[in-house]
Subunit: 222 residues, 2 copies
């Protein structure tokens, strides 16, 4: 099938894209354009890097404006997706039944398939794949035991060990499905180039720290 | 017909979109993603505002990565346009036969119409429409008599008068078709919101000055 891949810049959507790409053609990416970048940024950091990710993957990206209210987002996407000549859309959802069921309804309505390769997968297995094949950093933390010092850290074996420990201690979700953290994929098997961060800001509030990339470059992969 | 509109952020593509929208449905915007934003920015300033323009128009935008070499850009676009369910594409070209003929070939190849409402139109008439209905500023100047002080100026009656004088004195093209200037559309009849620039940088070289928008907001129209 010819698929569009919904991407946020984070590990789940990128991993889902890679899994789907083994069996299907990924024709383009799909992302959201928040109407108010500042407020939205807080929930989905570094959406402004979606263009860079599209360049890394050498794929066009279809961006859909949304006022940033979750209840309208799926409808906005549905309307826009009808313009694309694709047979389906791949999404990165792991456990959110709310999101999955609304997406499924939209896909049925416009007559395309919904592919959710990570749906109900073991978070540990997901994170092991991320460690093995991707270069992913934390860009937002909002959980006990995950302070600002986690921002920019690459998800590797050591990080996974610490996450498992925090999972035991505080019950944080290993893959951050409870909003404990957000990530950004700097390199992936299908990237032709990788993203190198040159400078960033950190935004803090009482419950979270967020890293906003200011300057970056796309560099050749060695 | 259902059209995609190729946009750069400047006056010509936005005016072409508005003219086409009188007879056709504009389904989405199409823009390019330069692989190297810094170098590209110099030729097409403020491409990073295309997402804001899409939000203003409440239209999805389809962005196509390109290495930024003109000869490859049209091919990249052609390949990507095949993913869109549209009957044609509207472009803002006025006089560049090189660009028009290459676009025409691409459109023929993928079986869509090319609409070029400004093609061979009188530059004076084009600029009069811009003055009347749009809020457009200069974001790059590269011509005799057009120094840095022109950056950020709105194209109004007075500016048009001065441009006509510069046309007589130095032969500059009234609509900037010779690369004399580049523009950015902050407001237009089909914008639901308008772009308000909050801060910018100016980049200078021996022959030109370029205004790069750093921060902006989308504001309600009065």
């Amino acid at each position: 099938m010819r698929l569009a891949a919904l991407v946020s810049g984070g590990k789940d959507s990128m991993l889902a894209l890679h899994i789907a790409a083994k069996e299907h053609e990924i024709a383009c990416l799909v992302g959201v354009i928040p109407e108010n970048p500042e407020s939205y940024m807080f929930h989905t950091p570094n959406l402004h890097l979606l263009d860079a990710i599209a360049s890394c993957l050498n794929l066009p990206i279809f961006k859909v404006p949304t006022p940033g209210r979750e209840e309208e987002e799926v409808e906005d996407l549905a309307k826009a997706l009808q313009i694309l000549r694709v047979d389906g859309i791949v999404i990165g959802g792991i456990e959110s039944e709310y999101q999955r069921s609304r997406f499924a309804k939209v896909c049925e309505k416009i007559g395309i398939e919904m592919i959710a390769p990570l749906w109900h997968q073991d978070p540990r297995k997901i994170m092991e794949k991320v460690v093995k094949d991707f270069e992913v950093i934390f860009v937002r933390t909002a959980a006990m035991g995950m302070g600002e010092e986690w921002l920019g850290r690459k998800i590797d074996e050591q990080v996974l060990k610490e996450l498992k420990e925090l999972n035991r201690k505080y019950g944080i979700h290993l893959a951050g499905e409870g909003g404990e953290f957000e990530t950004l994929v700097l390199d992936a098997p299908l990237y032709r180039k990788k993203i190198v961060i040159k400078s960033y800001d950190i935004i803090r509030d009482a419950n979270s720290s967020t890293m906003i990339v200011k300057d970056y470059a796309l560099e050749e992969k060695s």
